[in-house]
Every structure is written in structure tokens, then in C-alpha cells.
């Protein structure tokens, strides 16, 4: 394939994901990381914001590190849909020629980015866990393969823009600075509703009690070592005492004990709580890849050789039904709950 003339492409773009005007946290995380790249390379950091009625929202992106917000505001963008978002983004790329575009590896990012990549005939790396940039502005993308057993570093040397989707929660949330200023560039939109093939009939929120698992500070996670569905109550009680939420391994979701919403790991959620307590979880990489960046990991497992102890901060060899009730008792007493 003919290479793109890389020198024509400058600037770092973050695709700003929003739903109903609320920016996804991953967008801020990406702005934080890309701010470093922009400073290192001496290039501009732009957030591309597509949606409806987003004038106020746009400023938030500047407070979190963007130099500029490119805003495409129109009723046709009120909810994310593949075709109109691809059309406008590709139009913007052809107009401004950015060197890289970074997306969150969310259902939106993973639907949109490949479509854009195929139209622009450029490279795309999925679900990255780390990004670096060299002095020449080449993006070095680290992604897991084989369920996290193997890591690959991937580059896109001859085509622009360089594109990647990055897992939520792998980069820290930057500080919000409301004294930052920047430009908002408004893009005229010519897309008509009647030309959009997909229609959304309805969106049903899966309501969960307690904090969102991706955002929880404390998670008590259960695996097959819980042995019975009844014992979910045990970890729920410990989570309540700690003001946290519960999560589970895939076998429990496969068993139908809880909906997929609660699954942590490669094919579930990535979480980054301050504290996670794993109860009867062996620690397969497909699980640990989704939680290993927690600040403190406490592992409870009856098998002293369980691989979970390789990632844990504190390890407890014992049976869940003996240890957890004791933890509930102690923490309840000390935390006055």
C-alpha cells in the first residue's frame, strides 16, 4: 500500500467519548497521557467531540488538558451511531491531518475506530495497555494477546494517522484545572438523518445497585472457590461493610449467578480500585489482566500455590467461609457500621 507522507500529519487527537453530554472517564485518562506526548513532541493536543448540545461539555476537555476542542454538534449525533460518526471523523481527519488518534477501548471506540481505519486505510491497534511515543512521534503501542499471556509492541510506521484504542483505567485520571484555556473549533455538519442506515429503537440501562464496578474504590471479588451461590451474600456483606461493590470471575457469570456486568477480566471489565479482595479466585491471567493495577490486592484462597498470590499484595491461605465472616466482623466493629 502507498505510504502516507508522514510529515504532513501533525497533532495528537483524542476521540472524546460522551453519552448524554457526560464525558467518559477514559477520555480524561487519555487526555492526561496524550498531554505528556504533546509536550514532548511540541505538538497540539486536540479533543474531538461529536454529539448534540455540547458547548458546555467542551470546556471540560480543556480543563483536563486539551489545547483545542474540535466540536461537531448536531442532532444526528445525539446518540452514538457508526455511520455518521465515521463520516464526520474521516472528514475532520482529511481536513486537519492529525498524526495520531487515540480512542477508549469501549463499545463505542471499538465500533468506530476500525470503521475509520478501513476508510482511511491506516493501521489500528486494539485494546492497548500502554502507549509510548518516540522522539520522531512514532507511537509504540503495547497490547495483550492470548488472553493476556503475551504482550505485543506494535507500531504503524508508514501510515497516518496512527490509531489505537486503549483500555479504560490503564492511565491515571489527570487533575482538573479550570484555569486552563483553549480554543473551541466548531465544525459545520452536513449529515442528514434520512441518510443514516441504523436507527436506535431504545436503550435499556442495566441498573446496578451500589457504585459502578469500574469506578468503585473497593471491590470484593468472588470466584469458583465461593462454591455456592449462597456465598455471594458473604462477599456482598463484606463489600457493603467496606462501602464497595462486588465483582466475579467468568465461570460465575457463565453459571448465571450474576449478569456479565459484574465480570472482571480480559472479556469483562478492567477495574482499578484502591482495594480489591479476591475470594476463591485462582488468578488466571484472563482474570488478573483486568484487576492487577489495583493499589492493594488481598487474595484469599485455600490453595497456597494459587497463581493469584503472584499478583497479590497480601495473601491469606484459607477457606472463604472461614476467613470472610471474620473479616466482616472485624471491619464492621472497627469501621462502626
Amino acid at each position: 500500500m502507498t505510504a502516507t507522507n508522514s510529515s504532513e500529519y501533525k497533532g495528537i487527537w483524542v476521540f472524546a467519548e460522551q453519552r448524554d453530554g457526560v464525558i467518559a472517564n477514559v477520555t480524561f485518562e487519555l487526555l492526561g497521557k496524550c498531554r505528556e506526548f504533546a509536550d514532548k513532541l511540541g505538538q497540539k493536543l486536540s479533543a474531538v467531540l461529536i454529539g448534540e448540545n455540547l458547548e458546555d461539555t467542551a470546556h471540560e476537555l480543556i480543563y483536563f488538558g486539551a489545547d483545542e476542542v474540535i466540536l461537531a454538534d448536531s442532532p444526528v449525533f445525539s446518540k452514538y451511531r457508526t455511520n455518521p460518526y465515521t463520516d464526520i471523523l474521516v472528514e475532520l481527519v482529511n481536513e486537519y491531518k492529525p498524526s495520531m488518534i487515540i480512542y477508549g477501548a469501549t463499545s463505542v471506540g471499538r465500533d468506530l475506530a476500525p470503521r475509520v481505519a478501513a476508510r482511511l486505510k491506516t493501521g489500528l491497534t486494539a485494546d492497548c495497555l500502554d502507549l509510548e511515543v518516540d522522539d520522531n512521534g512514532l507511537l509504540i503501542q503495547t497490547k495483550p494477546s492470548y488472553g493476556g499471556n503475551i504482550m505485543c509492541k506494535i507500531i504503524c510506521p508508514n501510515h497516518r494517522p496512527q490509531m489505537t484504542t486503549v483500555r479504560p483505567k490503564v492511565f491515571p485520571m489527570p487533575a482538573r484545572d479550570s484555569s486552563r484555556t483553549g480554543e473551541i473549533v466548531r465544525k459545520k455538519v452536513n449529515i442528514k438523518e434520512e441518510d443514516i442506515p441504523v436507527k436506535i429503537i431504545e436503550t435499556a440501562k442495566e441498573e446496578s445497585k451500589g457504585p459502578k464496578i469500574e469506578e468503585a474504590d473497593v471491590i470484593v471479588a468472588g470466584g469458583r472457590g465461593l462454591e455456592t451461590k449462597e456465598n455471594l451474600k458473604l462477599i456482598k456483606e463484606l463489600a457493603d461493610v467496606l462501602g464497595g461493590t462486588i465483582g466475579v470471575t467468568r465461570p460465575l457469570v457463565d453459571e448465571g449467578w450474576l449478569p456479565p456486568y459484574y465480570q472482571i477480566g480480559q472479556s469483562g471489565k478492567t477495574v482499578k480500585p484502591k482495594l480489591i479482595i479476591t475470594c476463591g479466585i485462582s488468578g488466571a491471567v484472563q482474570f488478573t489482566v483486568g484487576m492487577q493495577s489495583a493499589d492493594v490486592i488481598v487474595a484469599i484462597d485455600k490453595n497456597p500455590d494459587a497463581p493469584i498470590f503472584n499478583v497479590a499484595t497480601y495473601g491469606i491461605v484459607g477457606r472463604v467461609e472461614e476467613i470472610v465472616p471474620e473479616l466482616i466482623k472485624k471491619f464492621k466493629a472497627m469501621l462502626n457500621k
Binding site: M1, T82, N83, T86, S107, R110, D111, A113, P114, A117, A118, K121, T122, G123, L124, T125, A126, I140, K143, S145, Y146, G147, G148, N149, I150, M151, C152, I154, I155, C156, P157, K199, I200, I201, T203, A204, E206, S208, K212, V218, P260, K269, L275, V285, Q286, V296, V298, A299, F309, N310, V311, Y314, G315, I316, I323, E326, K329, K330, F331, M334
Partner: protein, 260 residues
């Protein structure tokens, strides 16, 4: 209803190692199986055909051993299977893969639905489905957990992070499947035997009239520059004693770490 299913073969275990010297995957003794989400794709395609009539074709791009997975697809009820195989395809990233699959789909022609898995569990990209849709210039519905046909349109539920979105689109369209969509069938021994005897044509680059610039390494903008096994970074501290002692010690430790 003419349906095409894209089937990829993946190792049956994700517990793969890399040779520290050559940096290649150690493949000995690892068998190939159909990518789990592609089984959901096959199941859905066959179910739709059983209800509405028509034909299901499974296609796979890969080395000759991918035939095994196509045989399994045939045993599951697919009518026809085509292996797209050529040394010139080697080293393809998702963009080059989607080019070849899209060219094959065009050659088959006359399609109403194209199914892909939501992602393949080896490289875990999930890009090939949407890239095929773009190359064919038709809509995509990703992460589908339920599907219904209504006249010339399809109504699908998409599984998002914390919501289910119901959408509709006119055919043709590309659908990517989740494991929530259905329970893939186990083929009967008779079907397996019949499938084993069925001819699987092989299409090469020249049969597809493929542009040499868009296939294999040449057609792949991305390059893998390093591959490694992630290393562990922490040393665990074991807490011992009776359950009560453990609870006390843990509480103190967590207080020190300021997480409580």
C-alpha cells in the same frame, strides 16, 4: 436469505509461550479450534436459514490446517465452506485480512447478512468485522446479543458496557456476535462424517484478483516490533494465624496503606 459467516481458527488454549530466542509462538502440541464467538455466528446463521431458507457459506482466511475448522462449521449445518489460502496472505494485520475477506465476499456475491465474531480470542482485536463492513460499504451492528428479522430489516440488541441498545437496519449488514446470542450446537456424528467428505474449495490470491499491494505484509500498516511475556512486579506478603488473627493483622495493614 444468503448468509456468509467469517470463521477464524484459534489455538484451543490461551496458555501459549514464546520462544525466548526466536520470539515466535511455540505452536507444537497446540490444537486449533473455531474462535468461540464464531461458533455463535455459525449457530445464528444456521438457525436463520432453517427458519427462512437460503444458504450459509463459511469462509476462512488462513493456512491449510484451517480446513479442520471449516469442516466443523459444515458439521454444524453450514452449506458450503471456502478456504482462502495463499502464502501471499501471510503476515496480514486486520486491514489486510478484511481486504481479502471482503474480496471473497464480493466474489460470492448476493449476500443478505454477514456474521463475524465480536473478536477473535488470540489477538483480541475485534476489528475485522467493522473493517469488512466498511470495505463493502454496508452498515454494521456490533456486540449483538439477540437478533430478529423483520421483512427486509434486522432488529438487534447490542450488549454495551452497562446497557442494552436495540437497533434496526435494512439488509444487507454485518453482524458481530457475543456469546449471549445463543448456545452453539454440537454436531451429530453423522453430520461430522458427512462434513468430512465434503469438498472445501481453496481460493488463492489470483482467484480473488487481489491487489498485491493490499494483501499480506505489504497490505498491513501495523508491525509487531516486540513480543514478550508480562512479568510480575510485586512480592506477596502472606498473613498467617487463626481467622481472627488474620482479620486483625489485615485490618492494621490496610489502615497503614490508607485504603480503609
Amino acid at each position: 436469505m444468503n448468509i456468509i459467516v467469517c470463521v477464524k481458527q484459534v489455538p484451543d488454549t490461551m496458555d501459549v509461550k514464546i520462544d525466548p530466542v526466536t520470539k515466535n509462538l511455540i505452536r507444537e502440541g497446540i490444537e486449533g479450534v473455531i474462535n468461540p464467538f464464531d461458533k455463535n455466528a455459525i449457530e445464528e446463521a444456521v438457525k436463520i436459514k432453517d427458519e427462512y431458507g437460503g444458504k450459509v457459506t463459511a469462509i476462512s482466511m488462513g493456512p491449510p490446517q484451517f480446513k479442520e475448522s471449516l469442516k466443523e462449521a459444515l458439521a454444524m449445518g453450514v452449506d458450503e465452506a471456502i478456504l482462502i489460502s495463499d502464502r501471499a496472505f501471510a503476515g496480514a494485520d486486520t486491514l489486510a485480512t478484511s481486504y481479502v475477506l471482503a474480496e471473497a465476499i464480493k466474489k460470492i456475491g448476493n449476500y443478505d447478512l454477514i456474521f463475524c465474531g465480536k473478536h477473535a480470542v488470540d489477538a483480541d482485536t475485534g476489528q475485522v468485522g467493522p473493517e469488512i463492513a466498511e470495505r463493502l460499504g454496508i452498515p454494521q451492528i456490533t456486540f449483538v446479543k439477540s437478533l430478529k428479522l423483520e421483512n427486509d430489516a434486522v432488529v438487534a440488541e447490542r450488549l454495551l458496557e452497562d446497557a442494552v441498545e436495540k437497533v434496526t437496519v435494512k439488509l444487507p449488514a454485518v453482524i458481530t456476535t457475543t456469546k449471549e446470542l445463543n448456545e452453539p450446537r454440537y454436531p451429530s456424528p453423522i453430520k461430522i462424517m458427512k462434513a468430512a467428505r465434503k469438498e472445501i474449495p481453496i481460493w488463492s490470491a489470483s482467484e480473488l484478483n487481489a491487489d498485491p499491494e493490499q494483501i499480506g505484509l505489504k497490505g498491513s500498516p501495523t508491525q509487531v516490533v516486540d513480543i514478550f511475556t508480562p512479568e510480575k512486579t510485586t512480592e506477596v506478603e502472606m498473613i498467617q494465624g487463626t481467622a481472627e488473627e488474620i482479620a486483625n493483622t489485615l485490618f492494621e495493614k490496610l489502615r497503614e496503606k490508607k485504603v480503609l
